[in-house]
């Protein structure tokens, strides 16, 4: 059976819808993991030990295990305790939590790298601990760690393919549906790979712009 890429165009619409879902999942999980990462980082650094410990344990478990396994845990685990989430939401939570842990690691080092004088200065000016964190420390820390967080977002885009296994009809699952009708796996997976590649290029270009902006703002 030779290759025949002319089977792909009739399914272009379905693939395009799938690509939109991939983008939607990536953006939602990216936002969740960005803010989650900040919250996690602050808790890991400043919260009392009793709160910090469970977060540490969670981070340790999520850093040391595969994302696919975590997706199974969240999707099937939530159903078991009576929460029947749509696959899309479960996928966003799984991807988001996974990258929350990775982002938190980066943001922690960013927070620690902010000059101590900034903290002391803000406290001297009468800001509370919380205000100092929120208005002085975290903004500076986040700005300095945008490039490595951007790398995580690129990894997140590619990992979004994994949520196809819990039944989210994103790009990968859309191409699988086309394959089950045409029996042309090679053509459709290559087409899906090309779509990911293009989305990836767009994401990289966007991240470069953000990085440049931040450098200008400094």
């Amino acid at each position: 059976m030779g290759l025949d890429f002319s089977v792909v165009p009739p399914f272009a619409g379905a693939l395009f819808t799938g690509a939109l879902w991939t983008i939607a999942i990536t953006v939602s999980a990216a936002i969740l993991s960005f803010f989650g990462g900040i919250v996690f980082a602050v808790i890991a650094l400043y919260a009392p030990r009793i709160i910090r410990l469970p977060f540490r344990l969670f981070a340790w478990l999520f850093m040391g295990t595969p994302l696919l396994l975590q997706l199974f845990l969240i999707y099937f685990g939530l159903i078991q305790i009576g929460i029947d989430l749509p696959a899309f939401v479960a996928g966003v939570i799984g991807l988001g939590l996974h990258y929350t842990v990775y982002n938190s690691d980066i943001i922690q080092s960013g927070i620690l790298a902010v000059d101590k004088g900034q903290y002391e200065g803000a406290r001297t000016l009468g800001l509370s601990r919380m205000q100092t964190l929120r208005k002085i420390i975290v903004p500076q820390a986040v700005r300095s760690v945008i490039p490595p967080i951007g790398n995580n977002m690129i990894a997140l885009l590619k990992d979004s393919a994994l949520v196809s296994v819990i039944g989210v009809a994103e790009l990968t699952l859309s191409s699988q549906m086309a394959i089950s009708r045409t029996f042309r796996p090679f053509e459709f997976y290559v087409a899906a790979a090309a779509c990911y590649y293009v989305i990836n290029l767009g994401l990289e270009a966007g991240l470069r712009r953000i990085e440049r902006r931040i450098q200008l703002a400094r």
Partner: protein
């Protein structure tokens, strides 16, 4: 938590962990080979080889590993490549991590001080001799830790081949989640085994790093 169940099915998870270890070792070895070839291509004097190296890195790192596994396993037969799931998994994972290792190795090689290269050439060593006995030994020392990070990602990445039904840890966990309805216990069993594998690998990387360190 149902510890009885966990103890009862632990042997099945151990067997699956052995498959995960085999996958990691084989695809890790293949990744190192692809990485070495890729780095050589990217640093070569020939523009054609440089282009091939850069395309390899860009395409593989720009698309999901899962799709690469699917192209090889499901798409392979269309172009005359018929592989067992395990073999397809090893090849696809190795080829994938090889692209990341290419960049790791290239980064280590180009961060060796230029003066070392110039001095060696001035002393009359050939380009190849310079690379072999001056640049490479120093670069190897620099690449141990970052390659360890790549291997760490690879071990977790082996979970992907559960999607083509290789009976490794994640597939086993998924199957037992389906039959026992105990997702948390199964996650814990598989998760701890993954972490044990990663921990032992980390010890190995530390040992190598210490041995290679300048005395």
């Amino acid at each position: 938590m149902d510890t009885d169940l966990m103890i009862r099915i632990f042997p099945f998870f151990l067997k699956a962990a052995w498959v995960t270890i085999q996958l990691s070792l084989l695809s890790g070895a293949m990744g190192l080979m692809c990485g070495a070839l890729g780095a050589a291509a990217r640093l070569s004097r020939s523009p054609a080889l440089r282009f091939i190296g850069a395309t390899y890195v860009s395409v593989i790192r720009g698309t999901p590993a899962l799709i690469q596994v699917f192209i090889l396993y499901f798409g392979g037969p269309q172009v005359g490549i018929q592989l067992e799931a395990f073999e397809a998994g090893v090849l696809a994972l190795g080829f994938n991590i090889g692209a990341y290792m290419t960049e790791t190795m290239r980064g280590a090689i180009i961060s060796v001080d230029r003066g070392q290269n110039e001095a060696a050439r001035t002393l009359g060593l050939s380009r190849f001799e310079t690379f072999r006995s001056v640049t490479l030994p120093q670069a190897l020392r620099l690449m141990i830790r970052p390659l360890g990070v790549n291997i760490n990602a690879l071990i977790k990445g082996t979970a992907l081949v559960a999607a083509i039904s290789v009976v490794e840890l994640t597939y086993t966990a998924q199957r037992y989640i389906g039959s026992t309805y105990k997702p948390f216990e199964m996650f814990l069993l598989a998760g701890l085994l993954y972490m044990a594998i990663i921990y032992v690998t980390g010890l190995g990387v530390n040992w190598l790093d210490r041995r290679a360190a300048l005395k």
